[in-house]
Amino acid sequence: MGMFDAIGVAGTGVTTYRTWLDALSDNISNINTVRPFDQPAFQEKMVVAQAVDFTGGTGVGSGVRVESIAHGNAVGRIVYDPTNSLANKDGYVRQPDIDLGSQMTQLIMAQRGYQANLAVVDRAHEAYSAALALGRNS
């Protein structure tokens, strides 16, 4: 980086929030995925964000990155559904232990975070352009 730090740092934020959006869309698309009783249920994906502490001389950090993807409960919800073709001999299947309400709330947070970081890119561009316009009309 160097010259356009603000744009680059905001870019790392956009990338992280995009990963969060991806994870949420995966969770929501698999919210009804049924697994047999002897297999783990579909696990909720959770993005673990980490601050990037590398400092480029000014003492300001370099943004954020996705450290890892954490997985939710593998036990899931054990549902009695004897008509399901995946049910075991007692009629049980595993469904994911994901709360749609929580996913939708997180979706709003991820969307707003994405937009906020893009707004930072825009503001930084505006600020740099204003600096470049200094003395242009003198």
Binding site: G2, M3, F4, V121, H125, Y128, S129, L132
Partner: protein, 107 residues
């Protein structure tokens, strides 16, 4: 002010490219040293710009071929390249302006 006349309009832009060695560009005692500083700054700036443009171009090709994973990556690279181009043009305009100013000098 101890800064030489040619160096004066252009030296303030030097710190923008932080990776410069800037060998005593602000000393201003020797005119040759100042000119070196400016040409160094200019070529480093152009290299920088070239690199940003190449990044933006690569991402543009990826966007066109459908292999771009992050849409914003391209937009951010394009924004950076655009600001860097503006900066380079501003530096060039200032240099040309200073040169013209000297040409208009009555002797």
């Amino acid at each position: 002010m101890t800064i030489g006349p040619i160096a004066m309009p252009v030296v303030p832009t030097v710190p923008a490219t932080s990776s410069l060695p800037s060998p005593g560009a602000t000393g201003g005692a020797a005119a040759a040293g100042s000119a070196d500083g400016f040409s160094n700054a200019l070529s480093t700036g152009l290299d920088n710009l070239q690199q940003l443009q190449t990044t933006a171009d690569t991402l543009a090709v990826q966007a066109a071929t459908g292999s771009l994973t992050n849409v914003h990556d391209y937009m951010i690279a394009a924004t950076k390249a655009s600001v860097a181009t503006d900066l380079t043009v501003a530096v060039r305009n200032k240099a040309v302006e200073a040169f013209n100013e000297i040409l208009r000098m009555q002797v």
